[in-house]
Symmetry: C2
Subunit: 135 residues, 2 copies
């Protein structure tokens, strides 16, 4: 089985009100509409053109402050532990997270998006952005 390391370079940074673990909501749906900013590296800003007008987008980001990475976890509303891949726990073998956020404003020229329903810690490295619609 191919286990060759995969290297990514962050395309930007996500700014949110959540500074410490425990402050960040467990899910975008529990974020109470909290707003954040996505700052894209200037070399990649052109790649944002066409996002304007979308209602929701996927942010794929690194949950870079996860420490332990257990294979079994107990989600808050479950009675027994389950495999980490059956949960959305941020602490997982590859600490990659997926958030469906509301797009409030897209400014490709400035390399900046305003978004709502943010559930990631401030300063989280952004790996990718995708439309939630199929295009």
């Amino acid at each position: 089985m191919n286990r060759k390391r995969i290297e990514f370079q962050p395309i930007g940074t996500i700014r949110t009100p959540w500074r410490r673990r425990g402050e960040a909501p467990r899910q975008t749906g529990l974020a109470g509409g909290a707003e954040g900013t996505v700052e894209i590296h200037p070399d990649l800003a052109e790649g944002l053109e066409g996002l304007e007008g979308l209602e929701r987008i996927w942010l794929i980001w690194q949950s870079d402050r996860c420490s332990r990475r257990p294979l079994k976890v107990k989600p808050p509303f479950d009675t027994s532990p389950k495999g980490v891949f059956a949960t959305r726990s941020p602490a997982r073998p590859n600490c990659i997270a997926l958030s469906c956020v509301r797009l409030l404003e897209a400014d490709a020229a400035a390399g900046r998006l305003k978004v709502a329903d943010v559930d990631m810690l401030d300063g989280s490295p952004l790996v990718d952005i995708k439309p939630t619609s199929l295009s």
Copy 2:
């Protein structure tokens, strides 16, 4: 802006009928129900427990055979180019892809999932699995 490299290690490999670029469908919805197998590294197989019974799961994988990575692309049904982050093109600054596949069978002990609606090339490195439901 933090551009420190992110390193992931594949958690497994995805086996599909699609061997060459051009054979793989553009979206899971265009895969005609094509079936594939997800093989998880034995050390991580315990993390699959609890997936059984889910109807659909997210596979996050590396589109490792993308070569050019243009910032503007022309999706097949659009008339003009748009920013790559407004599309699901597999060729993007970080070649990471997101597929919502149907879960046919989960065998945690064997580290193996049978799935349908696969749109990735055979042998694609798997980065993560998440439930599509919120848990």
